[in-house]
Subunit: 197 residues, 2 copies
DNA sequence: GTCTATATCCAGATAGAC
DNA sequence: GTCTATCTGGATATAGAC
């Protein structure tokens, strides 16, 4: 009656490794983390790690793609739930703030790590799917007249640049209070910067 | 009659090394740059490099401090020249944009590199002198009634977050046009986000 | 102060048994 | 698929002559 689904199963090694490197890369950075470290902390042997990911870069790439998809999903859900650019963008900022408090390491890796240094093939973060989604929301808001007409890159930088800097400050330990406490004030500033009226 | 001052003199090796690592660190990153690389590109021997900087980290630290002082100086000059928070902040953004075009590597290293990975002792960039100066301008502007009263960190993130994201986008090659062309539009958004009226 | 030659270490990656 | 043992290169840093 007891099978692998009912017994408290150990996570599959792939996920085990990804969970481990998220911590290590955030704590020490990619280059200061050796594959030996990853093996020791994850409990998975070096051989298995290479079997699953090919090389060290492959681990970082898999982590990046996994987290990127998670962020895209969260953002897509908000877009589906809300009807205006204002509400959609506010929802996105709120989610980013919540995620930063709940999973600071994820945010650290996605928004703060310099991927170009260890993933030279990857597109720059601001060309990645989550950021594309954000820009598409803004483009729609501009068309609908909610947002003043202007260069799309200027609008998205202005709207999300402030919140992103607050996230970075929080990750750096410069902000003592949790981000959601600043949400209303930050959003007020962000929206004023591009709002039509 | 010809002495070391009149002859076209080779730069002193310290500066030679700093010029070289700025290029290499920006192109490949700190960890992908070996001291051998630095020696080859700068024409200064490995022994001399260690004589001047102690260890590899010392090179990065010296570069960071040099550039940080240069930025602080530029910002201080603008603060002295202008009389209002509005004009001071606009001047700062304009200078940052100009610097990005004239010396992209400097901006890349100062705003984009993740110093924490290779300079663990250094304060986070947003606690560094240039950023402190920017915040002091904003604090004064708030006191003078130019800027709405709000959390200082929120105000500085909102005012400079947009411009910083534009700089990063430009360094990533995502913006084709030079930054100064966007200045008016970017500044308009930035100032609206915090302006009192 | 500058250089070359070298010591030392540890990284990423693989081989091959199980 | 997983593991241990090992290879190999290249990294930081130093020694010591000039």
């Amino acid at each position: 009656m007891s099978n692998s689904a009912t017994s408290r199963r150990v996570q599959d090694p792939r996920q085990q490794i990804l969970d481990t490197v998220l911590v290590l890369f955030s704590e020490r950075g990619y280059f200061a983390t050796s594959v030996q470290d990853i093996s020791r902390e994850s409990g998975v042997s070096v051989g298995s790690i290479y079997h699953h990911f090919g090389d060290k870069e492959g681990i970082a790439r898999a982590l990046y793609q996994t987290l990127s998809e998670r962020m895209s999903h969260s953002i897509s859900r908000i877009i589906a739930q809300q009807g205006t650019a204002h509400d959609r963008c506010r929802g996105i900022v709120e989610t980013l703030f919540d995620m930063t408090e709940a999973e600071p390491l994820v945010m650290d890796f996605m928004l703060y790590a310099k991927h170009r240094d260890f993933l030279p093939e990857e597109k720059p973060i601001c060309s990645s799917r989550p950021f594309e989604l954000m820009r598409s929301v803004i483009a729609a808001g501009m068309k609908a007249g909610e947002i003043r007409p202007m260069d799309l890159m200027v609008a998205s930088s202005s709207l999300f640049g402030g919140p992103v800097r607050m996230i970075v400050a929080r990750l750096d330990g410069v902000l003592q209070a949790p981000l959601p406490r600043y949400l209303d004030e930050v959003w007020d500033c962000a929206w004023r910067s591009v709002a039509a009226r």
